[in-house]
């Protein structure tokens, strides 16, 4: 029981940390800082994946998001934004209304979801293994798998073409 409680409380902690860092990420004036905050949030999401018995996804989350994408984003920030100039406004004038809309959205969703009772009987199951994921990917989902690799390649070439100086 204790372990259950512990794990639950760790989850809520992680969730709150993730939310806080997410908020930081969208509100911080320094773009570099907000990128770092985002990394923290992403790590938090990885933990949530572990809670959901998706260890492989957690790993992918850390490797791809934190390791690859965020590095890229930081490079882009370095290249473009004047990070240290505090005088530049980082947010536009529609903050208030955005807040209202976003929070009402959230409130509404919470309102709905909180009344949502999931069915029981989800506790006994065989854990899904990495091998099964690999097998599925190369058999049932081979076409989307190949497609995604092509998309990645296209994105690679396309981004190189776009950002090339005239």
């Amino acid at each position: 029981m204790w372990s259950n409680f512990l794990s639950a409380s760790i989850f809520y902690l992680i969730a709150i940390v993730g939310i806080i860092f997410a908020i930081l990420s969208v509100t911080l004036k320094n773009m570099f800082h907000s990128a770092l905050a985002l990394i923290v949030m992403l790590l938090g999401v990885a933990v949530v994946y572990i809670y959901l018995d998706a260890e492989f996804l957690a790993l992918v989350q850390i490797l791809i998001y934190v390791g690859a994408i965020m590095t890229l984003v930081i490079f882009a920030i370095m290249l473009t934004a004047e990070i240290y100039n505090k005088n530049i406004k980082r947010h536009n004038q529609q903050k208030l209304i955005s807040l209202i809309i976003a929070s009402s959205m959230a409130g509404f969703l919470i309102f709905v979801l909180s009344r949502f009772k999931a069915q029981a009987g989800v506790s006994f199951f065989e854990p899904l293994t990495l091998a099964m994921i690999g097998k599925e990917l190369l058999t049932k989902y081979v076409l989307p798998f190949e497609l995604i690799s092509i998309i990645l390649l296209a994105a690679l070439v396309g981004s190189a073409a776009i950002s090339k100086k005239e």
């Binding site: 985002l38 959901l52 996804l57 882009a76 290249l79 406004k89 009772k117 069915q119 994105a155 981004s159």
Partner: protein, 102 residues
């Protein structure tokens, strides 16, 4: 045991935060970051539903893998576009790029 609704509420909160970021960020990169938040919120939904509704199916996890892949691709392209815009307009603030106006 954490109920499904809590995962979903977490996801909803994250999504709304991302939405707020998209609404308010002036910098294009900031918007991109907020988008990542939203994507992650969605991914949480996928995995959570997969775990609670169809535990034997791998579809949820595999979808997330694809989503991550597509997100990576879109981020890359988006960043490239931002760099290109920066070359042309010497700014990455989207409220200064209003050529789509009437």
């Amino acid at each position: 045991m954490i109920p499904l609704s809590h995962y979903l509420i977490l996801s909803a909160i994250l999504f709304s935060i991302g939405l707020y970021g998209v609404f308010t960020r002036r910098s294009a990169i900031g918007i991109l970051l907020s988008l990542e938040i939203m994507l992650n919120a969605v991914n949480i939904n996928f995995v959570a539903f997969a775990k609670f509704m169809a535990p034997q199916a791998l579809a949820g996890q595999i979808f997330v893998i694809f989503t991550i892949g597509v997100a990576a691709a879109s981020t890359v392209v988006g960043l490239a576009i931002i760099v290109a815009i920066y070359h042309n307009y010497k700014t990455i603030f989207v409220d200064e790029i209003d050529v789509m106006k009437w």
